[in-house]
């Protein structure tokens, strides 16, 4: 094996490419050649590093540079790589917080803790050896040699891990249900159909650390007694699809997938399924229909997938982020996991923070951090300098939280007791110059388009809400429109067939509670 004195980990995901990552890489390669240090320094391309602009981490120092332009490269190479003097002006903000993951020296944005994103950005995602070197597949080996399936389920149950896809169902319980259902054939599905506008946490995990997902699926399969798994990836995520496919192939070659894994009786295979660009397919039963090759329309529940899922067999559907927690829980124990976060809401949560803020990107924070802390300490306030008006948390179907409620803590219990959701983990900050009606119109348009059409409340309701919002946005609304919309929202919440219609009304109900006056500005004078 070749020895390199430094590794440069370069984020090459879509936003980085947009910000000019290709130019940076080319210049870097040229510079290394010019200085004749190509054999000493290795460039590793990875997914997003979770920072804004073109970013890289240089190891062994673990120094993060962000917002790099091709013209900065010369200085970086001469100063850092040749003379060993880090270039201060390009370095990411230093953190005072001690990182709890041992062995990590890199400095994260303030207040973060990384479990799920532990490896993203510190290993070459296309090289299985690097994953193995970071204790990869150790958890799988451990459970296969030391634990019975029941014990694995107990570990996950004790960890109090809850689903990270939005519904926050206890993962261990879900596994137990499937374990208890007798069947000769069971399935594990990884839900990677990340369709919520503004969310890209699952993409980052798949691009930066695909083996963690595969290992977790294998552990899950062993626990519930499945031997076949599917990863359902959004068709648009080209890089994720390639990475996952390569990772599966490599894992098969190393016998982490396939027959008699680790010389045990356990066999497991994974297939990749491509999504067709339908938002509703993030709903687990719609996703199952889609894997079966049908229109992605949701099924009536119960029976739930743990009893009757894919091809009528017991099936686990877990989100990418949920799964990525599993190997760490197995290795470090459930008590370690419970210590992170707050009571009833263990572990960390990955959020995508966006909108009018200074530090955009992906963060992983312990459960229980408040929205205000995220906004002030991590996002560093609004970029435009304007006052922030509200945050839209959890994606389009999430909740609108006005600025004066920013004290709310972002853990599952607090959110649930206030009737809120962290949904897919996106937090979009909107400043005061955006009119609420304009904003809601774009949200309404999305749902009108994405409703699958199976049930009437959602199909017609999303369409009518869009009509109301269009009228209000043109200032041609009637006073009665808002009360009618309120009634409509309640009907949809109660009568829609699946989560899409039930949750689609959340932002509108919130807006009518907190911004009714502003919405009224869309009423044409004299119209009742």
């Amino acid at each position: 094996m070749k020895f390199y004195r430094s590794h440069i980990i370069l984020g090459m995901d879509t936003p980085s490419l947009l910000a000019g990552a290709k130019g940076v890489r080319d210049t870097l390669e040229k510079q290394l050649k010019e200085k004749n240090i190509v054999n000493e320094i290795r460039i590793v391309e990875t997914g997003s590093l979770g920072y804004n602009g073109v970013s890289m981490i240089i190891y062994p120092e673990g120094i993060i540079y962000t917002g790099i332009k091709p013209e900065d490269i010369k200085e970086l190479v001469e100063e850092h790589l040749i003379k060993g003097r880090p270039v201060k002006r390009l370095m990411a903000i230093e953190s005072s917080q001690k990182d709890i993951c041992a062995g990590k020296q890199e400095k994260l944005l303030d207040g973060q803790v990384r479990i799920v994103l532990k490896n993203a950005g510190s290993i070459d995602p296309e090289n299985i050896i690097e994953y193995i070197a970071k204790d990869g597949y150790m958890a799988l080996g451990k459970v296969l040699n030391e634990n019975t399936p029941k014990e694995v389920i107990d570990i996950v149950k004790n960890s109090e891990l809850k689903g990270r896809g939005g519904a926050a169902f206890p993962t261990g319980k879900k596994w137990e249900f499937t374990y208890n259902t007798e069947s000769s054939q069971k399935y594990v599905i990884c839900n990677a159909d990340e369709g919520e506008p503004g969310t890209f946490k699952d993409r980052l995990i798949m691009e930066g650390d695909p083996h963690a997902v595969i290992e977790a699926m294998a552990i899950c399969a062993y626990a519930i007694g499945a031997n076949k798994g599917y990863i359902y990836v959004r068709g648009e995520y080209k890089l994720s699809i390639d990475r996952i496919k390569k990772a599966i192939k490599d894992a098969e070659e190393h016998n982490f997938l396939g027959e008699n894994i680790f010389d045990s009786d356990f066999s497991f295979n994974i297939e990749v399924c491509l999504g067709g660009g339908a938002y509703v397919c993030g709903e687990e039963t719609a996703l199952i229909e889609s894997i079966e090759g049908k229109r992605g329309e949701p099924r009536l529940k119960p029976p739930y997938p743990p009893v009757c899922g894919l091809f009528g067999k017991p099936t686990i559907v877990n989100n990418v982020e949920t799964l990525a927690n599993i190997p760490q829980i197995i290795l470090n124990g459930s008590d370690w996991f419970k210590k992170l976060g707050v009571k009833g809401s263990a572990g960390t949560k990955v959020f995508t923070i966006l909108g009018d803020i200074n530090e955009k990107g992906l963060i992983e924070v312990p459960m229980g951090i408040s929205l205000k802390e995220v906004f002030e300490n991590i996002a560093k306030g609004t970029r435009s300098g304007k006052k922030v008006k509200f945050a839209h948390i959890g994606g389009s179907s999430g909740n609108i939280v006005p600025f004066n409620n920013f004290d709310i803590k972002l853990d599952l219990n607090t959110l649930a007791s206030s009737d809120l959701t962290h949904g897919s983990g996106v937090i979009l900050f909107v400043s005061e110059d955006i009119h609420i009606n304009d904003y809601l119109k774009s949200v309404a348009k999305f749902f009108k388009h994405e409703s699958c059409g199976k049930c009437t409340p959602c199909r017609e309701g999303t369409f009518r809400i869009y009509q109301f919002m269009e009228k209000l946005n043109k200032k041609e609304g009637k006073k009665s429109d808002i009360s009618k919309m309120k009634d409509l929202c309640k009907v949809m919440k109660n009568a829609s067939f699946c989560g899409l219609g039930q949750a689609a009304v959340n932002p509108f109900l919130d807006a009518m509670t907190h911004f009714e006056k502003e919405m009224m500005e869309g009423v044409k004078e004299g119209k009742k």
Partner: protein
């Protein structure tokens, strides 16, 4: 073997894809992905052939094709322009971009220009919200923070590439 008249479509690739997938459970969507990638569109004839080959009712094939945005029944232009209209792009003026592209190309969203060069589409989030509004062309060329003023230049660039 392909017919040599030049008008017939060579179905050998389709047949091979179907052959490899026959009998596997839930294979339809993956087949549709592969076939569309090769033929550019899932025309009624193609759907009929898939239906026969996989022994799946044509109604189910058609229902699936029309359900997902990703599948198309009419061939798309050489350059597929996708404008992101996700929330973040919307608040930063994606709608203005759509209007301008419609105006400049003389086609509506979902249509293809007569010369077969451009198709215009809107997509939900491409996951690059910090660079909104975003326009992608054939998913390869990506334009960030696009302003309506840049549109002429973008289109002209591809026209010129073709002329050469």
């Amino acid at each position: 073997m392909a017919c040599e008249c030049g008008n017939c479509i060579d179905y050998s690739v389709l047949d091979r894809i179907v052959e490899e997938s026959r009998g596997k459970e839930g294979i339809l969507i993956n087949v549709l992905h592969s076939v569309q990638e090769h033929y550019g569109a899932l025309t009624p004839d193609i759907q009929k052939r898939i239906s026969d080959g996989l022994n799946i009712p044509l109604s189910q094939v058609y229902g699936t094709v029309t359900f997902y945005h990703f599948f198309t029944m009419v061939p798309k232009g050489k350059y597929v322009i996708k404008i992101c209209t996700g929330t973040a792009c919307y608040v930063r003026g994606a709608n203005k971009l759509v209007e301008n592209f419609v105006d400049k190309l003389g086609i509506e969203v979902g249509q293809t220009t007569n010369d077969g060069l451009f198709s215009l589409e809107t997509v939900r989030c491409v996951g690059a919200c910090s660079l909104a509004p975003v326009v992608t062309i054939n998913d390869v060329d990506i334009y960030k923070r696009v302003s309506p003023k840049e549109i002429d230049g973008i289109i002209a660039g591809y026209r010129q590439k073709e002329a050469e």
